[in-house]
């Protein structure tokens, strides 16, 4: 296991202007304004928070995993990572992280990919893409499946080996671990609190996460 970099935040939950618990299997979509801080907390540990961002001023601009990976020259997200858009611009920057590593490669689970990965009979299990699609459909924004590209998996551990292998390891997260990011622009944040029961990304026990938002410090 490589080095994990832990950075704590000076912010207190009591000062947040918005707090919400997202149960496992639920979706959430919310506007994060420029300068605001978003914290996602893994309340019970080993949970995957599938997360995506759209620029609120022009939703054609959205988080791009390949640009983010190439811009920082590395596949894992942690403090200091700039979350980049498909137009090669920074959308948010990670400012604190007590987990130390987050996944950029695994994307979201879906009914169809579950059939490929596990069995045809998994078609009707709940999955992240269904949560994403429902949130987009209810958002009032002109967004749908066409707009879903591959997302971040906060708290998920997907190591790549130097030989080009990909592994799904137990989570590196624990109860109360969090990741925090500051928005550089107004962005719509889309989250699915992952309901996957077929692999260890949630330790086979999906649990709630908490989202909290703070205004700029001054």
């Amino acid at each position: 296991m490589s080095t994990l970099n832990y950075v704590e935040s000076p912010l207190h939950e009591a000062d947040a202007i918005y707090t919400k618990i997202i149960p496992a299997g639920d979706g959430w979509m919310h506007l994060i304004k420029a300068g605001q801080t978003l914290r996602i907390t893994d309340l019970e540990g080993n949970q995957a928070a599938d997360t995506f961002f759209f620029d609120a001023a022009d939703t054609d601009e959205r988080y791009c995993a390949q640009t983010t990976i190439r811009a920082q020259g590395g596949i894992y997200l942690t403090t200091g990572t700039r979350l980049m858009s498909n137009r090669d611009r920074s959308m948010l920057t990670i400012t604190a992280d007590t987990c130390g590593r987050h996944d950029t490669l695994g994307g979201a689970c879906a009914a169809e990919s579950n059939m490929v990965r596990y069995a045809r009979s998994k078609r009707f299990m709940h999955n992240c893409r269904d949560s994403f699609l429902l949130q987009l459909a209810q958002s009032g924004l002109p967004l749908g499946k066409r707009d879903l590209a591959h997302n971040i998996n906060f708290f998920m551990n997907v190591p790549v080996t130097p030989e080009g292998g990909l592994k799904f390891d137990d989570g590196v997260s624990e109860p109360g671990k969090y990741v925090e990011m500051v928005a550089e622009r107004n962005v719509h944040c889309l989250i699915s609190n992952c309901p996957q029961l077929n692999n260890p990304c949630n330790a086979y026990n999906p649990t709630p996460i908490r989202v909290s938002i703070w205004e700029p410090l001054s």
Binding site: S2, T3, D60, C64, A65, Q66, T67, I69, R70, G73, G74, I75, Y76, N86, R87, D88, R101, L105, G106, G107, A108, A110, A111, E112, S113, M115, V116, R117, A119, R120, R129, K145, R146, D147, L148, A149, H150, P159, V160, T161, P162, E163, G164, G165, L166, K167, F168
Partner: protein, 222 residues
């Protein structure tokens, strides 16, 4: 840059004519472009961070788009994405049409937008791409390393289409190519006839996920 519909069960062979090639590629179900190459679904199903022989390129609707039936190189990059105008400017200089006429320095982001638009598609369809002929490995810390000596010239990779595809290609430098002269490496594209994958097919048997994706795709043609 180039785009074309390619019928099911054809071979597409890409050959790097000289060393240092990079061919960025996107694949869509020609009948429904919402059914398109999904790098995470492909990598998750195959437990890989590179593409080579035996692998099935998968869509986000659980379908097999194309199978890699031959590969003389052994590693093609699904991680690092495409060049933009800014990357090209930073790595290779300005190189506008005004200065260089048709030798101007193109980038894959703009190339893909042009080709996608010819099929009624656009930036919402510009998802993560594959980079044929390039190798980007990750070390223990997750840092990426581009190998500029990977493709020597003469190597080829051969796909078998598993559905009617829209194939969109851009021959531009890899985004992690070291700064210097803009590489101009020709890649040959040959399309031929293939037979449908039998029960003993190498790709079908490469992993159970490949067999399931191929079976789900065959249901599109009942």
């Amino acid at each position: 840059m180039w785009s074309m519909r390619v019928t099911r069960h054809r071979t597409i062979r890409f050959t790097a004519l000289t060393g240092g090639a990079n061919l960025s590629a996107l694949f869509f179900n020609a009948a429904n472009p919402l059914d398109r190459l999904n790098i995470p679904d492909t990598l998750k199903a195959l437990h890989t961070a590179k593409i080579t022989k035996g692998h099935v390129l998968m869509s986000d609707m659980g379908h097999a788009l194309a199978s890699v039936i031959d590969d003389t190189l052994g590693w093609h990059d699904p991680l690092a994405g495409l060049t933009t105008a800014e990357i090209v400017r930073h790595s290779f200089g300005s190189g506008s049409y005004q200065e260089l006429r048709n030798d101007f320095l193109r980038n894959s982001h703009d190339n893909f937008l042009i080709e996608l638009n010819k099929h009624g598609l656009g930036i919402r369809d510009l998802v993560a791409c594959l980079n044929f002929f390039s190798k980007v490995s990750a070390d223990e810390e997750g840092r990426l390393h581009f190998d500029p000596t990977h493709c020597k010239g003469g190597e080829s990779i051969t796909l078998r289409t598993e559905m009617d595809l829209l194939v969109v290609l851009s021959n531009c430098p890899h985004p992690m190519h070291p700064p210097g002269d803009y590489p101009r490496i020709p890649v040959e594209v040959e399309i031929g006839l293939a037979t449908k994958p039998e029960e003993e097919d190498f790709c079908r048997n490469f992993r159970p996920e490949c067999a399931r994706a191929l079976a789900l795709t065959e249901r599109l043609y009942l």
